[in-house]
Amino acid sequence: MQEQQTAFATFLMRYSPLEVIVVEMQDPKSGVTGSEQKLNVTTIPHVFAGKDIIAWIANKMKTPPEEAHVFGTMLVAFGYIYPLQNHKMLVMCNDTSLYRFQVNPCFLRNQLTNVFDVVAAIYLAKRNIRKKGMLEPYEQAHYNHLHKWLNHKWDFIVMQATEQYKAGKERKKPDRVVFDCQERAYWILNRPPRRTHSAMDCGPERLIDPNEDENMFYQQAIMRSKVKSSVSLGALVKYITTYKTHDPFLAPCQPSNPWQTDNDTYWTLNMRGVDVPTKMRVERWSFSLFELLTDLRGRDDFKVFLKKEFSGENLAFWEAAEELKWGTGSSMSAKAETIFKTFLAPGAPRWINIDGRTMGLTVKGLDHPHRYVLEAAQTHVFLLMKKDTFFRYLKSPVYKDIQKKALSPETHNFSPAQLEQNAQNRSPGIHPIILWQQEEEEKAKTAAASAPVDVKAMMSKIDRKK
């Protein structure tokens, strides 16, 4: 028993911190205090009470009892400790329930040993027996590797291999040959020798030499511009500070968090199509152009401002470019053509003012449109809006007006009875499919309304009516 325990301890030492702790728990001096269990006339040694185990864990790891309890349950769940009563309930109970440590390594569910590796090792050991030590070089290499890696399990592996070998010998010769071929084919597929063409050429053993690509990657990585830690970390802190009051986990939602009060006013007030947005929402639009554009209600307000300035074409172009980028492959050429005619062609009705070089590259690219063909132009337009238009918007009467009008809902103060009521009457809201259909209709209407007028078509229509 002592020998087995030492061997077990050594076996464990190779592995994870979890197993180191399990060994420490069994130390006769500093481990958990054990006792004996009397079962009829037999006395079973080395039993431990759940509460003692949990207390030991809490003390050793300096954690609150609840966490120690969870840890204890993990030890049972993974088989390091097993319960003597209620053996089907693999949890640790914080009372006088009795447990023992699992000593037999074969019964340990060791997460770290890849089962596939054990199966592979058994196969190779069996071949080794059959071939009387004359394995092929790649098999020998693999065998040696597994022998080192699974050394502690080797007795078990050889035992299994011997059993399988004996069972194999008892098969009829034709069956044995077929089975051997099948088995060998399986292993050639799953653990191919080097330089074998395999459809499953992946993983660290694959043929493509990663080193060549790697060196290029490192060279590019060295040349890529990096920023000082103080600058980038400062930016992370700034982001957190800016959004602090908007984070429902850090500051209360107004009027209340629907998950906490079962009242969904917060969501209704912040819907896509509201007439008057909330103050928090309007404030968030000022954080960045990205925020303003991502919130479609904010984008609408921005469009009101742009209309007044007669400079809506930049945003319209940006939106069209987004549609191209994220749209279906089949719609790309049609979209590219419309965009060219509307925004880029000389004399186009909504001509965007971008620098000559970008314009030239974009127009050339449109000969063979792909989804990123407008990338350069789109970035240029976005930066223009970000650095100039956006700030003018924030100072504009349009924005100041919406800021004034914006709602500041009062905090809900539900009594327990009201909260009960709320829980019984949770509103189903509007289904996203319906909202989507409504939005698509709106988009179609605005597109039709703002499309450049085809004078010729209108004239011929009038002629036909005459």
Binding site: F217, V227, Y239, N257, G327, G329, I433
Partner: protein, 361 residues
């Protein structure tokens, strides 16, 4: 018929191994140079910058909803943009769409395979995507008619040569990004099922991915069993940044809300924060008492809190700046396998091997 002389073959072998050795030395030198460049710019630690920031108060986070209906382990979930609906998938092949607020099940689909490890809600709210051991990612358009058989309109989009580990729609319903056990990620056109771009570079299974929330929206990060987290350019298919500091499989990656950093959760029981502009790991979230792997991570709206779902059935909440754990949440009766914060940050949802999902606020 003479066989080729052995010495010739031996010379070829020697030449090949010399080239490989040369490449390896060059690789090591370059790696060292990259570390040097990174170190030059490393003038301050995160906790130093965080000293000036106010500490967090006490948190009261509770389970607000428990969603029961799956017959087996819940493996994945995603929120709808309406902030209340979710889609979840489980080991028994079932994909369920719920209104988590009312706890009503709205749709249920049975996939032809088990272990549906990935699911995603489309931005329009009109469809869901899912996949797993079938090596595919399929899109199911949703319907207002509860009796409609959704499986009839199923569309097969992605095809991998191994299991699908994660999927995500891009900015529209028309494109899906997937990651797979075959070591690659891929971008697909939903309508035609065409492969638009594939991403090679991981040396083992890719387990997770997340799209950047930035205005350019052209990058995404992936994490794999090779312990690497890679940042990719969606346009060129190139890996533009790579981080290898974890000691085991990376189960989850999530961008910081500003898009300038991302967090990862791994089987090595730690969560880590990587700064993309400084090109380095800047924080490790770990505790001696936490020794079970992290399955899933997500940030709160401001990025101040990092929620992690762990294999020891708990949820740990971390102060991203100060690096301390602010709360530990109990409730699930088995591993937490998936965790996502809602689109407006009012709650987060967890899925577990105990067959349930919970929303917390």
């Amino acid at each position: 018929m003479r066989s080729p002389p052995i010495p010739e073959m031996a010379t070829q072998e020697v030449q090949l191994s010399e080239t490989l050795a040369h490449l390896k030395t060059e690789s090591d030198t370059l790696k060292g140079k990259l570390e040097e460049e990174r170190a030059k710019l490393h003038d301050v630690e995160l906790h130093q910058v965080a000293e000036k920031v106010e500490g967090l108060g006490q948190f009261v986070m509770k389970t607000r909803r428990t969603l029961k209906g799956h017959g087996n382990k819940v493996l994945c979930m995603d929120w709808c943009k309406d902030k209340r609906r979710i889609v979840s998938s489980s080991q028994d092949g079932k994909v369920i769409v719920w209104d988590a607020f009312t706890t009503n099940k709205e749709h249920a689909v049975t996939m032809p395979c088990t272990w549906v490890m990935a699911c995603a809600y489309a931005p329009s709210g009109c469809a869901v995507a899912c996949g797993g051991l079938d090596n595919k990612c399929s899109v199911y358009p949703l319907s207002l008619d509860k009796n409609e058989n959704l499986a009839a309109k199923k569309k097969s989009v992605a095809m991998h040569t191994n299991y699908l580990s994660a999927c995500s729609f891009t900015n529209s319903d028309m494109q899906i990004l997937t990651s797979s056990g075959d070591g690659t990620c891929a971008l697909w056109d939903v309508e035609s099922g065409q492969l638009l771009q594939s991403f090679h570079g991981h040396a083992a299974d890719v387990l997770c991915l997340d799209l950047a929330p930035s205005e350019t929206g052209n990058t995404f990060v992936s994490g794999g069993c090779d312990k690497k987290a890679n940042v990719w350019d969606m346009r060129s298919g190139q890996c533009i940044q790579s981080f290898e500091t974890h000691e085991s499989d990376i189960n989850s990656v999530r961008y910081y809300p500003s898009g300038d950093a991302f967090a990862s959760g791994s089987d090595d029981a730690t969560c880590r924060l990587y700064d993309l502009r400084a090109d380095r790991e800047v924080a490790i979230y770990s505790k001696e008492s936490i020794i079970f792997g992290v399955s899933s991570v997500d940030f709160s709206l401001s990025g101040r809190l990092l929620f992690g779902g762990y294999n020891d059935y708990t949820i740990n909440v971390w102060d991203v700046l100060k690096g301390t754990r602010v709360s530990i949440l109990f409730g699930h009766e088995n591993r937490v396998s998936t965790l996502r914060v809602s689109p407006d940050g009012t709650a987060f949802c967890t899925g577990s091997w105990d067959h349930t999902l919970r929303t917390w606020a």
